[in-house]
């Protein structure tokens, strides 16, 4: 039900804005359910035959593609100040059992989802798309966008693929993606104890060990240990391969985020935190807050 609403919302919005700018040629995006590939997932594919970019969105804990990314879906077809690259970008919305599955399980699902789309759409996906849609031959650019826990899943995927490559395995093209993370939970959620705060802020393994052994919310700290491991692996990989794009993420927090630990990996591109935005609203663009659209597709701030 929510998906239908999203599609119609996007349509209304596009029509309204097209009327304001009738002179420019403007490609719109078509809603494409991908339930047969992965239940609950879908795409918005450009009617341009020049699509060169695939954007994969990964929601956070207890979220879903519609709730988390509705505003992107609504706004990607506006012409009001959004980067033109959006016209030639196809967006895909991944979903997973964020409240139940482990990060390991989720990253396997995400890898399979991306592999079916990038660099070329698999036969399984093509079968699900409308016949009239002009399909891209191949994508040359991949962008992974995560919110909250989705950011942690993306980072775990990148660390896993990097480690596999480092130990002699195949080098995945996912490693060349741009990683754009809204309020990522890559250092975990807000601790409620002093030992948790000490461990979370410093990231020192010894403090993490003490917090796990003695702190009451021990499960919270075990998750943090796994996240710290992903951080260490990714930083090591970056040291060896500083030009591999996915090892350094673009990170944007809201100033009023009181939900996750607001920290960055050493190599990350830190985007100035957005005032007046919290954990939920940081990834909700509007006509008066278009920054998320340029953050996803843009560059490091100069």
């Amino acid at each position: 039900m929510a998906l239908v609403d999203v599609a119609s919302l996007a349509k209304v919005s596009c029509e309204q804005i097209s009327m304001n700018n009738p002179s420019q040629q403007h490609f719109q995006h078509v809603f494409c359910p991908l339930d047969k590939l992965l239940p609950g997932s879908y795409g918005y594919l450009s009617t341009s035959n020049m699509s060169d970019t695939a954007i994969v969105f990964v929601h956070g804990f207890d979220g879903d593609p519609a709730d988390t990314w509705t505003d992107f879906q609504t706004l990607m077809d506006t012409k009001a100040g959004i980067p033109p690259e959006w016209q030639n970008a196809d967006s895909f919305f991944f979903t997973y059992r964020s409240t139940k599955a482990s990060i390991d399980d989720s990253l396997d699902g995400l890898r399979e989802f991306i592999d079916s789309l990038y660099p070329t759409l698999s036969h399984r996906v093509v079968e699900l798309l409308p016949e009239h849609l002009q399909l891209p031959a191949t994508y040359t650019k991949l962008i992974l966008v995560g919110h909250s826990e989705g950011g942690a899943v993306i980072r775990a995927l990148v660390a896993s693929l990097g480690s596999r490559w480092e130990t002699g395995g195949v080098r995945s093209s996912i490693l060349d993606s741009r990683v754009a993370l809204f309020a990522p939970a890559h250092f975990g959620f807000m601790p409620t104890s002093w030992l948790g705060a000490l461990a979370s802020i410093t990231g020192i393994a010894g403090l993490m060990g003490i917090a796990i052994s003695y702190s009451t919310p021990a499960s919270e700290m075990r998750d943090k240990t796994a996240l710290l491991q992903v951080n260490r692996i990714t930083e090591k990989l970056f040291e060896k391969h500083p030009r591999v794009e996915a090892f350094a993420a673009h990170v944007l927090f809201g100033v009023d985020d009181h939900f996750v630990i607001r920290q960055y990996y050493l190599q990350d591109c830190r985007h100035t935190p957005e005032k007046g935005r919290n954990h939920q609203t940081i990834c909700k663009p509007s006509l008066s807050y278009l920054r998320p659209l340029s953050f996803v597709i843009g560059d490091c701030p100069k």
Binding site: P191, L195, L198, T202, I210, P242, R262, P301
Partner: protein, 302 residues
């Protein structure tokens, strides 16, 4: 993709801009408390950070991590204007037309970076900035380490919490310092103080912990000399880097040391108080050992 040199340039320009914006707008030059004879201005924290940056840039040039032309560009646009302002203030204080003797402020900086007096004196005189070089036999092997250390440095100088903590321990008046302990924040308030540059207890505690985390990463980087064939290279490199960072916990300053211990002991006490009585003594000891081990970095060469 942002290279290390781009990151350096962006962060250092922001830093020096903040340094000058502050002096122009608020006229907060360096001040000395007439009663105690102690410096009370946070301008000096900026100065320490910029000198630390210069010394790391010079080291990065030695190891090929930053090119000479890029270093020269940074000398011109960041470090020369900074030293020129320092020299102007020195002249004002010494009431001379020409730089003759180091003023109290310059003397303070020279003491903080005792190993690098030539570089600082040359800077104040408007001379060559890359005068002190670390000569090693295998620069290539150490390049990754200096690159990582520069990334840590950039995170530290752009973290407002660390700035507030350093400023508090070194330059706040007794009255301002005592306020830190009047209302102890909740652990989640400390975590939320990330990227908050206001002078509050939670920011001071956050800055302490964040700095400990980064210093621990520096220590780990310096301890791990795997693959470095020449033992003397490793020893000299370690000592050189430690001397650059030593000012962050100044063992020669009774005030800085005492305030560090106060914050450390406060965090140990509140953390242990969360636990059953039987665990407290052991956890207190473990926490103290972890904090002290990190700062053993400074103890070695103090």
């Amino acid at each position: 993709m942002m290279t290390l040199e781009n990151r350096l340039s962006t962060s250092l320009h922001e830093k020096v801009d903040s340094y000058f914006e502050d002096s122009a707008g608020l006229d907060r030059g360096v001040r000395v408390d007439a009663r105690t004879g102690q410096f009370t201005s946070y301008k000096l924290t900026f100065s320490h950070e910029l000198i630390e940056s210069l010394l790391l840039v010079n080291l990065a040039v030695d190891f090929g991590a930053v090119s000479r032309p890029n270093a020269q560009a940074l000398y011109s646009s960041v470090f020369r204007p900074f030293f020129a302002s320092l020299a102007r203030r020195s002249n004002d204080i010494s009431q001379g037309g020409e730089y003759v003797e180091p003023s109290a402020e310059s003397e303070h900086l020279l003491q903080s970076f005792g190993r690098f007096t030539n570089t600082i004196e040359q800077g104040i005189r408007g001379g060559e900035l890359g005068v002190e070089a670390l000569k090693v036999n295998d620069a290539r092997g150490l390049r990754q380490r200096i690159e990582k250390i520069i990334l840590i440095h950039l995170r530290m100088i752009t973290d407002p919490g660390i700035f507030v903590y350093l400023d508090a321990t070194r330059y706040w008046t007794e009255g301002a310092w005592d306020h830190v302990f009047e209302n102890i924040p909740l652990p989640e308030e400390v975590v939320q103080a990330a990227e908050d540059g206001t002078q509050r207890s939670s920011t001071v505690l956050y800055g302490f912990l964040r700095l400990v985390g980064f210093q621990s990463e520096i220590k780990d980087t310096l301890d791990d000399m795997e693959g470095i064939q020449d033992e003397s290279d490793a020893i000299r490199f370690r000592e050189w880097v430690r001397n650059i960072f030593n000012w962050r916990l100044d063992f020669r300053s009774q005030r800085s040391m005492m305030r560090f211990e106060q914050i450390r002991d406060l965090l140990i006490t509140v953390s242990a108080a969360e636990l059953p009585v039987g665990d407290r003594a052991l956890v207190r000891e473990k926490l103290k050992n972890i904090f002290d081990e990190v700062y053993g970095l400074n103890l070695v060469s103090a």
